[in-house]
Subunit: 229 residues, 2 copies
DNA sequence: GCAAATTAATGATTTATTCAAG
DNA sequence: CTTGAATAAATCATTAATTTGC
């Protein structure tokens, strides 16, 4: 057992774009949010009780202690490391916290969205992730989240519009678009079943890497990009 | 088993995209960003390229057609297969669609819940899954879902009780319990960061198998099972 | 011009609901 | 009717834009 990991440093600097502003306008400030106090840190107590066969003690969580938002930056993502004796500080990494999509990535995603894709299934996510990986680091979950957020925000934007100015005489904002191909979702009664859970896909800067339920001895072929099919 | 694939050449050109203009936002492509920094040199590419264009066609969905609810059972999950030549019908498990927890599994989960566990993190889920695997087939997501559903239902049950009979003189149903150890969730300001996404864990009937972000070169130890069954 | 302060956007999680197998 | 599975809605948190005071 060992967790060995390497730290990849990750050069985040490439592709930085100078500024660039999008045309849309901004709207009002957001609601104030209050940050919770957090204080009360409880100490960890573990009371264990002896027990039974099912060794409860082993569940004591290894890491992930109460997190203080305030305390410097916690590197989210790789929380994995952590265990006590970790080699220190090094790195700590900057790297990265959340996915920062490139223009191309967003462009592709929007194109897919405009074509009707809404909730891509595992396979599609892999494919998309692989493709987008050519434009920057990205993981499957980012794709998944993107569609979820985009769909939700599009929806609320539309609702706002329809309510805000219900007097629009004309068909106001043409709702999304039409699918060019099925996504397994569409509007039909929910698809379900085509889920993303339980699969991980990672794309490295140079090249790509995808896998899936490998342990289960089913390998997923990675779509050749540009297939022709 | 193997993951075969690779490829990636493909440069930026996409957007040939015929019709399709994005609404406002996102403007221009502009500065060519170079992505692949480094290396990449790879022989192959030539950069330049021309190419490609993000072959939309490749996204045509392989399977997952519109689903008719009525149509017999589609095995959800593995939608993966699908593509033509997949090897065998592996699995297809007969009836098995959803997880069917055994008494022991539920017992353990409830014990953990009663002890305060609410939203186990990835590591914990792995561990739990592994342990429960000794009592029957189970996957990480089942554990994840169980806690989610149980928490939610406990909550609504409580709400119902407090509203339904607000006159109960006595403290009616003693709310959950107290945590014996932190789970990283609890009630304190949400923990966040300790997520389950991006990790997969599978436990077979006989033995176990867990893995995690392997591709990313971090290996996770597998908890020894031995169960005392 | 520039960097801290502020605000808008949006990625990532959690909670609430809904669907459906058994 | 119980409850596993999934999706949608609500939130939280971090980053990029923008603004503001030198």
């Amino acid at each position: 057992m060992v967790l060995n990991m390497k730290v990849h440093q990750f050069a985040r600097g490439f592709w930085d774009e100078p500024s660039l502003s999008l045309g849309c306008k901004r709207l009002r400030p957001l609601a104030p949010k209050l940050q919770q106090p957090t204080s009360d840190n409880t100490t960890t107590t573990t009371t264990t009780t002896t027990l039974t066969t099912f060794d409860l003690k082993t569940f004591i969580k290894p890491d992930c202690g109460p997190r203080k938002p305030g305390s410097s930056h916690d590197h989210s993502k790789d929380s994995s490391s952590s265990s006590s004796s970790l080699q220190t500080g090094v790195e700590t990494h900057p790297g990265g916290t959340r996915w920062n999509p490139t223009q191309e990535q967003i462009g592709i995603l929007e194109m897919l969205y405009s074509r009707g894709m809404r909730t891509p299934n595992a396979q599609q996510i892999e494919h998309i992730t692989a493709q987008l990986g050519n434009y920057g680091k990205i993981e499957g979950k980012n794709v998944f989240y993107w569609f979820q957020n985009h769909k939700a925000r599009e929806r609320q934007k539309q609702k706002r519009n329809s309510l805000g100015l219900p007097h629009s005489p004309r068909t106001p904002p043409p709702p999304p678009i039409i699918p060019a191909f099925h996504t397994g979702d569409e509007d039909s009664p929910y698809k379900r079943k085509c889920l993303y859970w339980g699969f991980e896909c990672l794309v490295e800067d140079n090249g790509l890497m995808c896998k899936k339920e490998e342990g289960h001895d089913r390998t997923l072929e990675l779509f050749p990009l540009h297939p022709e099919r």
